[in-house]
Amino acid sequence: MGSLLRADWLRIRRRWDVWIIVLGIPVLTLLAYVAGAMSAGNVHVFSSGDVPPELQAQIAAEEAALRAFSALPYQFPRSIATMVEGATLWLILGAAFLAASMLGNEFSWGTIRNVALFRPDRLRYLGARLAWLVGLILVTFVATVALGAIVPALVRVDPGNPAALTGDPSIRGMFPPGPTGPVSLGGALLVAGSLFCMALAGMALAGLAALKFRSTASGILVAGIYAIAEGILASLWMSQAAGDLRYVPQMGLTIRLSALLGDAQVAAGLTTAGGGQSSSPGWVALPPLLGAAIVAVWLLGLLGLWFVVLRRADIDE
């Protein structure tokens, strides 16, 4: 296994596209975060003409509450969740591209044939490749999380007056329903972990398609089509089905992943309601642990299929 990992390193270290993804995603996310943080304190309630003194006090209180609300995402440790949530799309797409590219290119270049001649134990070869992929995605993730933890110390955002958020019921009504208090480090990491699962799912789906269809482009395309098709079919099913059949679409991968993120956000105190399709008619909430177990089964199943596909594949490149 060691020689397979070393050989992969010789390959990967010269691939600029891999490093652009691994290093570029945290950097881009950081830029977006800093831009958001710098504008967070820039909150004003506009008024025109002469404002009576009692209204001036009300406006000042609203401004303090707004400033506190807009600063919330940039306070440690919630900044970790903010940073990772900002990178969600990039992380999923990046993981999918890495998997499709690192597996599909072996077929389009024909190098899979040489690999098979030098290492006929295909499953170990794939195991090493999987280890590298997970490692690279993890590096991207850890870098993003670490930046989320460090940046609040470097880019200071005026926290405003958090007490103003909850002090006056009329002001409280200005904000979306849900918790507005501090988030624990564990909660932020829970959100980050659920997004990591999303990235792994993107990797597993695109990797499987790349192995099956033997091309990078097909890998990404098929994974994207699957995600869209599952969403549409599940919505249709949920709006029509009754009884136990309502549970069937909720076993879908993308639905479970968005529910996993929603559950994590609720558990972290970022929101009171799950995201994704939880507001769709026919939605049945599953216990969070059961939802997480279904995601785990999906991931293991998809990755298991990688090995089944390659083990049985004819290498006719």
Binding site: S3, L4, R6, A7, L10, R11, R14, R15, W16, W109, G110, T111, R113, N114, V115, A116, L117, F118, R119, P120, D121, D314, I315, D316, E317
Partner: protein, 305 residues
């Protein structure tokens, strides 16, 4: 004799079409074995089956006494299969080092093996250049270098001179000769029949997934030999053709010379034919054995199938 390659009853279909249809192969160790066939006859599929890249529907394969799926067995095999395949963003040396690493060679040993293999194929001066910028011929040489990287006992070469300029063809041909002289077994699939004629001591001819001939190259060439019997007049040639036909020998008129008949040599030798004709008061002006080219034998074997 011990077999480097032994295959029995190999069958492989792609859909309903049999690409390889019941092939038996026996390649003795130390031989240079020519594998011939027109395009689409199943040569490359057979090679892929031998190397474990494809799985046969039926049949068995033994490579150097082991299975083609066995790493220790494949470690003794070097192969060039169809078009060369490398990582375009790596240099020639890095590509070879990578595969040396895959072959579990220590770093220094792998690097030295890469240097040696690049030297053998004359790519030392471009070892540091990215393969993406290589010409087809340079990639083909690099493919040969990769095949030699592990100092193999058995070398399987599928069209190794494809894309090479005339100088490169001569070099690779010389290289194959050297491999053969060093005692390695060489399994050579090629379209260039002169290559086979010059290099191979055994040959197999494949047509539509079946072996149509197999044996020593010398014997195959002898099978195609003709007796050219020249007469002074056309009348004598016509009479001789009838005499030969009565004796069960099919004679055809030579295209390149008047009053000359061509007779297959495998049933009667020169002296027997001469005696037969003399018995009918026919005396050839000239009677010579025309050596067949492998090309004519190949065409004869593959056109009729």
């Amino acid at each position: 004799m011990d077999a480097a390659i032994e295959a029995r009853g190999l069958v492989r279909h792609f859909g309903p079409v049999p690409a390889v249809d019941g092939i038996d192969l026996y390649v003795p160790r130390g031989s240079v074995y020519g594998f011939l066939g027109p395009n689409g006859s199943g040569k490359t599929t057979t090679i892929r089956l031998l190397l474990g890249l494809l799985r046969p529907d039926r049949g068995s394969i033994s490579l150097l006494g082991g299975s083609p799926h066995d790493a220790s067995c494949l470690a003794q095999v070097g192969a060039v299969v169809e078009r060369p395949a490398f990582y375009p963003y790596l240099s020639a040396h890095e590509n070879l080092r990578l595969f040396a690493t895959l072959a579990e060679m220590p770093s220094a040993v792998g690097s030295a093996a890469a240097d040696r293999a690049l030297g053998v194929v004359g790519l030392t001066t471009v070892a540091g250049r990215k393969v993406g910028g290589f010409s087809t011929g340079m990639k083909q040489r690099l493919a040969v270098a990769l095949a030699l990287l592990r100092d193999p006992t058995l070398v399987i070469l599928d069209e190794p001179t494809n894309g090479l300029d005339p100088g490169g063809v001569v070099e690779v041909r010389g290289l194959i000769g050297e491999l053969a002289r060093s005692g390695r077994t060489v399994f050579l699939s090629t379209h260039v029949l002169t290559e086979v004629e010059q290099l191979c001591d055994r040959v197999a001819v494949l047509q539509r997934g079946r072996l149509v001939a197999e044996g020593l190259t010398r014997e195959l060439l002898e099978r195609g030999q003709r007796l050219a019997i020249a007469f002074d007049t056309g009348d004598e040639a016509e009479r001789a053709a009838r005499v030969l036909a009565d004796a069960g020998l099919e004679a055809e008129a030579a295209d390149d010379r008047e009053n000359t008949l061509l007779v297959a040599r495998d049933r009667l030798g020169s002296s027997a034919v001469n005696r037969l004709l003399a018995g009918h008061d026919l005396y050839p002006a000239e009677l010579v054995v025309r050596r067949a080219s492998l090309e004519s034998v190949f065409l004869e074997l593959t056109e009729g199938v």
